[in-house]
Structures are given as structure tokens and as C-alpha cells.
Amino acid sequence: MSEPSTPSTGLSGSKTEDTLHPGTEPPDSLTGELRRRVLSINLAVTLLAFVLALAIGAVLIAASAPSVIESLGYFFARPFDTFAAVFNSVYSAYSALFQGALLDVNELREGDVSAAFYPLSETFTVSAPLILAGLAVAIPFRAGLFNIGAQGQMAFAAIGGGLVGFGLSLPAGVHLLASLAAAMVFGALWAGLVGLLKAKTGAHEVITTIMLNYIAIYLLGWVLNQDWFQREGRNDPISPILNESATFPLIFGGGLRIHFGILFSIGAVIVVWWMMTKTTTGFRIQTVGANAAAARTAGMNVGRIWIVAMLWAGAMAGLAVSMNVNGTDKVVTAGIVGNIGFDAITVALLGRGSPFGVLAAGLLIGGLRAGGLAMQASTGTPIDIVLVLQALIVLFIAAPALVRAVFRLRGKTADSLTIAKGWGS
């Protein structure tokens, strides 16, 4: 037996990955064989997409490195200097990037375990909201909706989570859960509105989510200037500090920022996976995403399923912002969301819309982020290179034919990402 094969309107490439489809295919069946072959091809394409992106990033880093430019000035006198400068600039940037994401080798040699694992702690800390926000994009993908609105859903959710977090006094634990619940409800309302508008009027979600992002961000800006939300005695937009009882405890402490929120995000991945593969809700979401017309003909209430998918998405976005509100920042500011809602799109695309794919992609992007900061600090290479890498990786993965052409690989399946179907519906 197997689960429904992946809807073509989701990420068609994801026909290949089995995280959503734990059903066991008879090993000798034709489709099973086909799947394995496609999987291996796509794994290669994914890896090569990384190689290609890193190569282009290396060109950028080298071409813009001051040392390289300087040595170019006397290239004909001492060409080797230029090559050395190119190698050094790329090597130092990328090694700082990877060490900053995983393990500080120098600290480890010196025996400071806590400092050595600081990069990994950062990666997990940064990844926690990315994974959740990635789910907020990935669930609607499966229903055929492109949620560009995680940013706004998170901003709106921060209002709810923050209010409960600093405004109430409840016992520890209960208070945290109440604050998370408030954030999830606020996020779900904001996202549900998109589903409602789509269901009732056919308004395209790409447009409504973009617009609601701005509206939510201005709303948050306004709220932060109100007496009931602004910290007393402050003129800048900042909320009071959350009560201790509403914050995620640190897991290790000792300078490592990693907190228990990361467990919530892994838990959310599992819950979403279960929902998508084992329940009628998931079946319906996938049916609507694969063929909304057939779903409607079969008596499914497509509009309601869109709303349900968006409610899930909003709740995940709410939980995502709570990683910052109740975890790292313990306060609500105008910049609380950062760029997570947009990075979430990359995470969901990279994870091909499946929960475990999102987990992996979230850790990857989180690692790049954490490493990028370390790289910027130690080598002066601007962290923006991480954005470039991120964009290139997704582009290449989305266009496997391009990657195959670059590496002269065979394979002619015309698989590519398909989500939106024009503005029409």
C-alpha cells in the first residue's frame, strides 16, 4: 500500500521523496523501481545544485575580495599572488561559514566544549523558527496555495503572543503554553483570512498575502506605539520584557542560546507529517492541491479545505515567531520577524513541501545564516552572500534540466516546480 502520490500542483519533484509516503511499495513493483531511480537522479541534482551555487558564490567572493583586487594590480608581475589571494579569500570565507554553522574547531582544540559547540547551538536556534515558518509555507503548497504571507502572519502573531507573554501572570509552563496558543491563534486568524478571501471571492492568495504582510507589519508598528503595548518610559517601539514564566528555558545554558523551542519545532514537523499522511484532512488537502476541480466534483468543500490549510499555516507561523518572542528575544519589537517569513519560502521550496524536507532545509538555511554571521565577523565577507547562495540553490533545484545541462548529465524528465496556476483562480 502507499499514500496518495504527490499532487502535481505541489512540488512535482517531490514525487520522489518518501518522507510523506511511508507506505511500503512492493519492492519488485515497477513504480517502486521508477521511484528509486528518479530519487537517485534528484539527489544528484540537489547535490550538484549546491556545488554550482557554492561555485558561483566563490566567484563573487573572490572577485570582490580586497586582497584579490589589490593583487590584480600587479598581476603580470606576480600572477601567483592573485591565485593565492583568490584561494585564500574563498577558503577563509567558506571555512568560516561552515565552522560558524557546525563546530568551532579552534575552541575544541583548546578544550572549551561549550564554546566549540556554540555554532551548532546557533544553527539550531536560528533554524527553529525557520522550520516552523517553512511548514507555514509548505502546508498550503500541498493544497495548491502559495503562501507568501508567513511574514505578516508572524508579525500579527507576535502581537498576540507578546500580549499574553508580558500582560498576564500565570504559573510557569502554563503561561508559556498560553502565550504560544495566543500566537498560534493570531497567526491562524491572519492566514485564515487569506483562505476565506480565496474561498469566498477567488482573490489570489499571492496578492492577498503580499498585501496582508504590509498591513500586519504596520499594525505591529502601530501597536508598539500604544500605551497598552509599549514598554513604560520608552519612546521607541518596544514592548515590555516577557515574564520569565512565558519564556522557553535554555537547554544547556552557559552561553549557548539553544532553548526548548527547538523541540517544539521538531514536534510540529512530526505532527504535520502525521496530519498530512494519516488523516482525512491531509488527504483532502493533497486532493485539492492535486486537482481542485476533481476534489469539488467529489463533494469536497474546496474553500473550507483552503481555509483549513491556511489555519494550519498561520498556527505554524505563530509558533515560529514565538521562537523569537518567547525564546531568543523575550520582547516584541518591530523587527521581531526579521526576514524569516521570506526565508521560509526558500525553506519550503528546498524541502519540496514535505515536513521532513522542511526540517532538513530549515537546518540547512539556519546553518548558513548562523555561519554567515560568523563569516562576516571573522573574514569581513558580507552575510548577504548567504542570500545569494540560498537563491541560487533553489533556482537550480527548481530547474533540474539546467543543472543536468551544466554537468552534462543524462535524463530528460521534464520535472519542475509548479505551484501557482496564474491569477485566474
Binding site: T201, I207, Y218, I345, L387, V388, A398, A401
Partner: protein, 422 residues
Amino acid sequence: MTLTAPVVPQARIAPPSLTRPIIMTASALVLGAIFILLSPMDAETTFIFNLGDTFISIPDWIVPSRTAATGFAIAALVCAAIAWPINARRGSLFLPAFGLGVFLVMSFLAWVGADSLLPITGLLQGSLLLAVPLIFGAMAGVLSERAGVININIEGQLLVGAFLGAVVASLLNNAYLGLVAAPVAGALLGLLLAVFATRYFVDQVVVGVVLNVLAVGLTGFLYSRFLTEDPDLWNNPEVLPTIAIPVLSDIPILGPILFDQNVIVYLMYVVVTVVQIALFKTRWGLRLRSVGEYPEAADSVGIEVNRTRFRAVILAGAVAGLGGAFFTLGSVGAFGREMTAGNGFIALAAVIFGRWNPIGALAAALLFGFADNLQNVLSIIGSPIPSQFLLMLPYVVTILAVVGLVGRVRAPGADGIPFRKS
């Protein structure tokens, strides 16, 4: 055999929906009442029409606030009333809606401008300036989407245009050369969109979103590496001078708004006119629209669908890139990180609000520019409305537009759908 075409019986028509006149009337009544009641009894509002030296100057207009608010609200209500019979005949509600909007805004201004000076001409001129990049972006959207490629990438194209325009102008010490470079940058980003959309058939929304990330990353990276390191060399372009067009710039009110601007604004007039005419009156436009509406039909008469789309998207990128130059060369000069600040998305909204028509998109972009500048002006004279809510206005209006209150929007038939030959 008979020669006449068969007569098709006219289908019975259900009575027209009353939703729109009801909404118009309700908004006139509710908003009008609010503005009237909130405007103070004994205050006066001063509308200023002069801006700079014009040949003929118009005296300021000083009115009692509540009287003015009431008068304009009544005018708005009249517009809403006119909508009823027009709606019953299924006529276009554009004019009544436009009038309703204008009068409600005036009524609103009478209230918020009580006891202050409202620079109407300045307000409009600033609106036009804020709308310039939106208009270029919207034209880029129209070109690309009329050819059947969704363009979420306008934001990125504006950004790279702003960046390269500033850098080239600064390096070569010539703002006009920067103006040449900006569309090249936009076109290059457009090229990427075109390649992925028409060669590799990647989902167009996805490519657009990802290319925006790429544009932010790339400009941010180069900004940190070069522009902040040596701003005098890399990021110190001269600003394009204002060129007053003789005679025209002396027209009262309109003159300083329209004809005392820099060259990008004049280019904008040219681009809008050319796009409008070329799209609907030339072979190029006919073919472009055919591949966006029904590519199979275009293909069947020998038109290269993907090549046509490819070129349209690159051209769109160039137009957006030119608009991006306005952020640097046309206003502040220096480039700043992510300085387009979502203008590309508002431009996209203008495309949809303007129903994929150049003139419609122009009107929508002007409206958004007005809302934006109204917020600026009100924050100067002090307004009872929090600035955030005024800033939200374009986005709220867009949502109202796409949910159908402004009428049915119909995208080009094949917008966003890749064309693959079997």
C-alpha cells in the same frame, strides 16, 4: 442554403447585482458622517494651490472646516446616487467611483486640515514623484503578464536598476550614463526570469520570488564590499537636474506638477504612451497579447510563443530597471540597502488593480502614490489618524480590488501558464 449567419437568441439576463452601488452609498454615508462630525465647528481649513513661481497664481482657499467637509460629503453622496441608475443599465461605474473617491478624500482633508494649511499642489506633485517608480514597475508588469509570464520579480528589477544606475553614475561621474546602465541591470534580471520561465518552465511565481532574494543578496553584498568601503568613488552619483519645460510648466497647478521634473519623469510619460499604443495598435502588441491569452492559437499560426515571451520579459526588466534609477538618480542620489522597500509589490498590485491595462495601471499607481504622500503631508501638519493606517491604505485598497468590489478583474488567459509544445 441560407446565407445569413444564424441568429443567436439573446439569453435572459438576471437583474444586475446591487453590491457595488450599496457599498458606494454606504461608504459615502458612513465616511461622510464621520468626517463631518469630527471636523471642528469653528475651525478653518486652508487649501494652498501655489507651488513655486507660476505665471498665474491662484489665491489660497480658506473655508470653514465643517462646512467644507459637509459639502464634499454631499458631493460624494451624489456620486454614489448616480451609480444606481448606471448600475441598473450595466454601465461602467468608473466615473462615479472616481468622483466618490475624490470627494471623500476632500471631505477627509477638510477635517484633518482644520486649522492648518494644506498644500494641495505640493501634495499632488509629491504623489506623482512617489508614483514614478510604481508606474515603471507597473508597465513592466503589464508587458510581462500580457505576454503570459507572471512578474513577481519587479521588486528585484527596481532594486538592481537603482543599484547599477547609482554605481555607474558615480564611477563615470555622469547621471545620464547611470540612466543608461539601470535598464541594463533590470534587463539582466529579466533575462534570468525569462530563461527559467520559458526555457526551463519553472513556476513563474517561484522564480520571481527567488530572484528577488537574489537581487537583495547581490546588491547587499556588493554594497557592503564596495559602496560602503569607498562611498565617494562608488556611491556618490549626482542627482538628475530638474528641467522645466517652457510654457507648459507655467500652467497653474498642473504645470509644476507635471512639467517641472527630471528626465525620468518625462521618460515615464513616453514609456506609458508607447506601451499603451504599441500593445494595442501594432503587430508586436497583437502577437504579444496573443501569446499571453492563448499561446496555442499563436503557435498554430507560426508565432514563436516562448521567444515572444522571452523578449517581452527582458524588455519588462529593462523598463523596471529604468524605474529603479528613480530611487537613486531621480531623488536621493546614493544607493541604500533594500531601498525599493516593497515598491515592486505595490506596482504588481497596480497592474492587477489596473486590469492589466497600461492606462489603468498608471491610474492605480498614481492612486497608491497619492495615498503614500497623503500620509507624508498629514504627518507634517499633524493628523488625527495614525500614520500606520494611512500607510496601509494602498494594500487595503488592493485587497478590496482583488476581492471584486472594484469589479471583476480578468487576467490574460494564459498568464502564468508555461507553454510547452507537445
